[in-house]
């Protein structure tokens, strides 16, 4: 069972988030006003960087990388041996993914990503992190009881026979999980494979969708 607070809103299908504290809205506005009035910040540059991470860079970037690795063995080897080079081949950006490591899930090892100290995350391939990844429940528990967190909170069972390997991104390397290619996908194109790759599967807290799903 996945634990979700899924009080569905008919209007947009999104969870309702608590209203922003008025004080915070005022402080942010004051900060921007002050910086702009002094000529130190261009509000249009804020719009521009927000647009990159709200509309252009997200898990679809990583999904394409994974699909190519599944389709092209030579690319997969380059991705594991020299991730920066392989990602550059695909035109992937580098901010918050300047020095990448790609870890491969196998029949023997299941990799999981976390940043216990803050919330370091590979923005270049996954976009900005979800709230749960940044939350202290995830950061505190995943390192100590990863199997229980996966089972109880993400609905993912890892067999006892497999090693669970946690990667705590406590330095400036950024990680991405290369999930295992689902069975029965031999006939799919790279584009079709990319559709199966979920954000959670590239963090190690989920599996790719199956071909039939």
């Amino acid at each position: 069972m996945t634990r979700e607070h899924d009080h569905i809103h008919a209007d947009d299908g999104h969870d309702h988030h608590h209203a922003p504290p008025e004080e915070v809205v005022v402080r942010v506005k004051a900060l921007e006003n002050l910086m702009v009035s002094k000529g130190l910040v261009d509000p249009a540059a804020i719009d521009e960087i927000v647009d990159h991470y709200e509309n252009r860079i997200g898990p679809h970037v990583g999904a394409k990388v994974v699909a190519r690795a599944w389709s092209d063995e030579a690319f997969k080897q380059r991705l594991l041996d020299n991730p920066n080079g392989a990602l550059a081949e695909m035109g992937v950006s580098r901010l918050q993914g300047e020095d990448m490591v790609v870890v491969e899930n196998t029949d023997e090892v299941h990799n999981i990503l976390v940043c216990t100290l803050c919330s370091c995350y590979p923005w270049n391939v996954l976009g900005l992190p979800p709230v749960w990844y940044k939350s202290t429940p995830y950061r505190s528990r995943i390192v100590k009881e990863p199997r229980a967190v996966l089972r109880d909170d993400f609905g993912v069972a890892v067999p006892d026979s497999k090693e669970v390997r946690i990667w705590d991104a406590n330095a400036e390397l950024r990680y991405m999980v290369l999930p295992q290619r689902p069975v029965g996908t031999e006939s799919l194109t790279e584009e079709q494979l990319a559709e199966l790759v979920t954000r959670d599967s590239m963090l190690g807290v989920g599996q790719p969708k199956t071909a039939a799903a």
Partner: protein, 228 residues
């Protein structure tokens, strides 16, 4: 510092709550502080780990209360004041200003044109300096028992533990000294593997492992003896 930000292994913080169909930003103020973080940061008034420390070094309950982007706001306000860029009064007074536009001739550190370059290239902390590695893959190391009041990237749960160097990642700026002393002190960073048994004791899977990225100054050779 042994703050609540260093939460790996703490019990009692509850279940992970996964939000369905989560938006990238939940409110417009989150967009603004996200962008301000970069636009202000580009002025170079502080380094990344001074900023991290500014967000961590505060009463535990305040850290727990604030959301992720509220922590960014807190850290930025604090550093602007501490670095003497603005006073607290300047910030408070700015709340009464109408929406401002950029003064003619201003050249902000982050222009619209610079944004795609920042996104494309990022800011690597890898350094070209020729620092000799202290360790090689396969070495058994013991992490130091670091309990400084300043900033460290060695989490509490991984201190005074025996691990194995898995791979040398090359030379990087040292975040701890950059935050605490304003010195990069470039040195090798290694991925180091620890067994869950070594870190947590009994009642964990004997198969499971944890890997952290540690700098030369975080470790010493482990004395002979047993690790789990």
């Amino acid at each position: 510092m042994n703050g609540i930000h260093d939460c790996g292994g703490i019990d009692g913080l509850g279940h992970v709550t996964v939000e369905k169909n989560e938006r990238v930003f939940h409110d417009d103020w989150e967009r603004r502080i996200f962008g301000l973080n970069w636009a202000i940061g580009m002025n170079g008034w502080w380094n990344q780990d001074e900023y991290r420390h500014a967000m961590e070094d505060r009463p535990m309950m305040d850290y727990m209360r604030d959301t992720y982007y509220e922590k960014w706001l807190f850290g930025i306000e604090r550093l602007l004041v501490e670095k003497g860029v603005f006073t607290r009064e300047d910030l408070l007074a700015a709340g009464a200003l109408d929406t401002q536009s950029l003064p003619a001739g201003a050249q902000p550190a982050m222009s619209v044109e610079k944004v795609p370059v920042i996104v494309r290239d990022g800011f690597s902390y890898r350094r070209d300096e020729a620092a000799a590695p202290r360790f090689v893959a396969g070495d058994r190391v013991r992490t130091r028992n670091i309990n400084i009041k300043g900033h460290t990237r060695l989490p509490r749960y991984a201190r005074d533990k025996i691990g194995i160097i898995v791979v040398d990642r090359g030379v990087f700026s040292f975040n701890d000294s950059a935050a605490n002393e304003g010195e990069e002190r470039p040195q090798h960073v290694y991925s180091v593997r620890f067994t869950a048994l070594e870190v947590w004791g009994e009642n964990v899977s004997p198969k499971d492992t944890l890997c952290l990225d540690l700098w030369d100054e975080h470790m010493d050779f482990a004395a002979e003896g047993t690790s789990k």
